[in-house]
């Protein structure tokens, strides 16, 4: 079992219709600064590689960078933090988004039930709350819509702290996309979209990790 880099994970998911941010990869600090200028500030810079599964724990994510100098410094620090075990790495430059609501979505291959799509309440309390729900692949649009009703904190999907209600169809289409990934990409063992942020009422995959069989 191995993981795909965040960039490759998102490319795969995006092909199936999971919304992602306007992100660019960069080889070095110059590249990263150019990418950031193209995206517009503020940005996030992350170190990204197939063998880097837990960026936050290793401090490989730099948030809220407001100018080229900050991007350059962050890029150089991240590249310097690379270890020999990381294999090939690159930088991922992404727009900085904020949201009051973080969900989690994913795909899990269960020994008894095979591939299952999950959605739940994300963020730092995700595992403590375990407010998640599953369906077996393949999902129908009705199944995907009903998953949203299962969440105990379902009121989070309504209007929330000045943000509009979550676009249910857009949420359902993320779950249907994950179902299609499972059906069409048998090498995919699991997918984590965490967080799936709600920006202006629509979901977007801010981080993603795809696990595949070798």
């Amino acid at each position: 079992m191995s993981t795909l880099s965040e960039a490759r994970s998102k490319q795969l998911l995006a092909r199936y219709g999971v919304p992602v941010l306007d992100e660019r990869t960069a080889r070095d600090a110059d590249d990263a600064v150019a990418a950031a200028a193209g995206i517009g500030y503020p940005v996030v810079v992350k170190l990204c590689g197939d063998r880097i599964a837990h960026k936050t724990e290793r401090g490989l994510v730099r948030l809220g960078l407001h100018d080229g100098a900050a991007v350059r410094e962050a890029a150089m620090q991240l590249l310097a933090a690379t270890t020999s075990e990381d294999g090939p790495v690159e930088l991922l430059v992404a727009p900085m988004v904020r949201s009051a609501r973080e969900l989690i979505a994913g795909l899990h291959t269960d020994a008894q039930f095979g591939p299952c799509v999950m959605v739940g309440i994300g963020g730092v309390l995700a595992e403590a709350l375990a407010d998640v729900t599953f369906r077996l692949v393949p999902l129908t649009p009705v199944d995907a819509d009903e998953m949203l009703d299962d969440l105990a904190a379902g009121s989070l999907l309504g209007p929330f702290r000045g943000e509009p209600p979550v676009d249910r169809d857009a949420m359902a289409s993320v779950l249907l996309a994950l179902s299609r990934v499972a059906e069409s990409e048998p090498q995919v063992q699991s997918v984590d979209v965490n967080p799936l942020m709600i920006v202006d009422g629509r979901p977007v995959a801010v981080d993603a990790l795809v696990e595949v069989t070798e």
Binding site: I104, F113, A130, R135, S190, V191
Partner: protein
């Protein structure tokens, strides 16, 4: 299930004749109890018995070998003999035309490697002989249309439309005991035992096409191939509701996983999601499971979630409203025209909202009239009726007290009892007339089951719920299933 596959199940549930193999003259042995229960429940077919000693048990002549028995009279053999005897027994039974066997015998798959080997051998033998093999290590099979109680435990439940399949024999007994208590009966019931050849899904598929059964009720513990099981359950729920009581849902399927999704994937969560996907409604307690099934068997499905509560006292209504608020049902805002219509029937102190609290303002005909008005309103999908039996409870105290029948007590007691019986009947009648569920709840259903209120509810063939919260829980099962069907354009 195809006709060809159904035939052996017909032999299990509606046999023309039953053989108890390993019949015993000792009333403490299973081989006696099984024969006793078959005879005592009034089974109409022919009953045969075999053991090594011969003789006569409970008036049934006992043959020493199956070969002595007539050809073609026996469809089902109920096996109480030890594993070592059973291969020869099945061979002999096959020669007599037996098509189904229930093995109550233990010592198979549950008993180590040797037992497992014996189990796979007997399964293979059953297949070769064309005998449906139920069990082993199960309590038995019940089929009320045939007055068949081929099981090693009590009770024999009243006839009804709930079909039971259980991975635990004791839960078959539990459900049957609830059937005895409530009067909501059972059509078929089987304890799957080790489910060596025939599993829960096989029974449920049979029940789905069984004209005697309106709903299935299953207890599931281990699930060996979840994906296949749920594909089959989807075929069942398309035809009939299925209530599942799941054991072992708190066991955390904690997995070492690289993903958060994986670490959040417990067996319970996936099972629950899969049930919602295929329209199975899950109960968390034995009584909830039975009462949900009993409600499917005796009430129409609601067309929507909007519930009205009719109560003769405030507190009950409040607690019921809270339970509805916690559920997926909806406490409907009382429509203006309905409020106006009720205003005409009651003094102004009634609640004028939902719950519809009559606040003691009712006269002789108010309750049947209000029940009808509420159930007939197009904005109401279901009704919960509270307060039945209060007056009859007082009547009972008067009847049992030192002054009865003088001082006008005889007349008032008779009036109260007549009224409560009438209200119970009104609830059933209005439900039938409108095609909407009307559930009656009072603790008198268990505190004073002979009270004319709950007694008459039973006589109408419906369940009198022992608490309004339990009525709400049962109604929620019906709504979940109805909604599942509607969203998938079934019917």
């Amino acid at each position: 299930m195809t006709t060809g596959r159904r035939a052996p199940f017909d032999a299990l549930f509606d046999p023309r004749g039953v053989l108890v193999a390993g019949a015993s003259s000792h009333p403490g042995k299973f081989g006696f109890v099984a024969l006793h229960n078959i005879l005592a429940s009034g089974y109409k077919g022919k009953v045969f018995a075999t053991n090594l000693d011969g003789g006569e048990i409970l008036g049934v002549p006992v043959a020493r070998t199956v070969d002595e028995l007539p050809d073609g009279d026996i469809d089902l053999v109920f096996v109480c003999t030890p594993p070592a005897a059973n291969a020869a027994l099945l061979e002999a039974c096959a020669r007599k035309g037996v098509r189904a066997a229930f093995l109550t015998t233990a010592g198979y798959g549950e008993a180590g490697p040797e037992g497992r080997r014996a189990e796979s051998e007997i399964v293979a033998l059953g297949e070769r002989l064309g005998i449906l093999l139920a069990g082993p290590n199960g309590q038995g099979v019940v089929s009320t249309p045939s007055s068949l109680c081929a099981q090693i435990v009590a009770p024999f439940p009243p006839r009804g439309r709930i079909a039971v399949a259980s991975q635990s024999g004791n839960f078959v007994s539990s459900f049957q005991n609830y059937a005895m208590q409530t009067g909501i009966g059972i059509s078929r019931a089987v304890s799957a035992g080790n489910a060596a050849a025939v599993g829960i899904a096989d029974y449920l598929e049979y029940y789905a096409d069984d004209p005697e059964s309106a709903v299935s009720l299953a207890y599931l513990e281990g699930v060996s191939d979840g994906r296949r099981l749920f594909t089959r359950l989807r075929g069942v729920t398309e035809r009939k509701p299925l209530v599942v009581l799941k054991g072992g849902t708190t066991a955390s399927g904690q997995r070492a996983a690289a993903s958060h999704t994986g670490s959040l994937a417990s067996d319970a969560k996936i099972f629950e999601g899969a049930c919602r996907q295929v329209g199975v409604t899950v109960a968390t307690t034995v009584e909830e499971a039975f009462e949900a099934a009993a409600t499917f068997a005796t009430q129409p499905l609601p067309a929507g979630p909007r519930v009205a509560v009719v109560t003769t006292a405030g507190g009950w209504g409040v607690v019921t409203a809270d339970a509805i608020a916690r559920s997926e049902l909806e406490l409907v805002d009382l429509p203006d025209d309905l409020r106006t219509a009720i205003d005409a029937k009651l003094p102004p102190r009634w609640s004028r909202n939902n719950p519809i609290d009559l606040a003691g303002g009712e006269t002789r005909d108010t309750i049947p009239e209000v029940l009808a008005m509420v159930a007939e309103h197009p904005g109401v999908d279901a009704v919960v009726y509270l307060g039945l039996g209060i007056q009859s409870n007082q009547a009972r105290m008067m009847r049992d007290g030192p002054f009865y029948p003088g001082d006008g007590l005889e007349r008032i007691v008779a009036y109260h009892e007549r009224q409560d019986a009438r209200f119970a009947r009104a609830a059933a009648d209005v439900s039938e007339a409108t095609g909407k569920p009307v559930l009656t709840a009072t603790e008198l259903a268990i505190a004073s089951p002979d009270n004319p209120g709950p007694r008459t509810v039973r006589e109408t063939g419906r369940l009198c719920y022992a608490a309004s919260t339990r009525a709400v829980a049962a109604l929620e099962h019906l709504w979940r299933y109805a909604r599942w069907r509607r969203r998938r354009n079934l019917e």
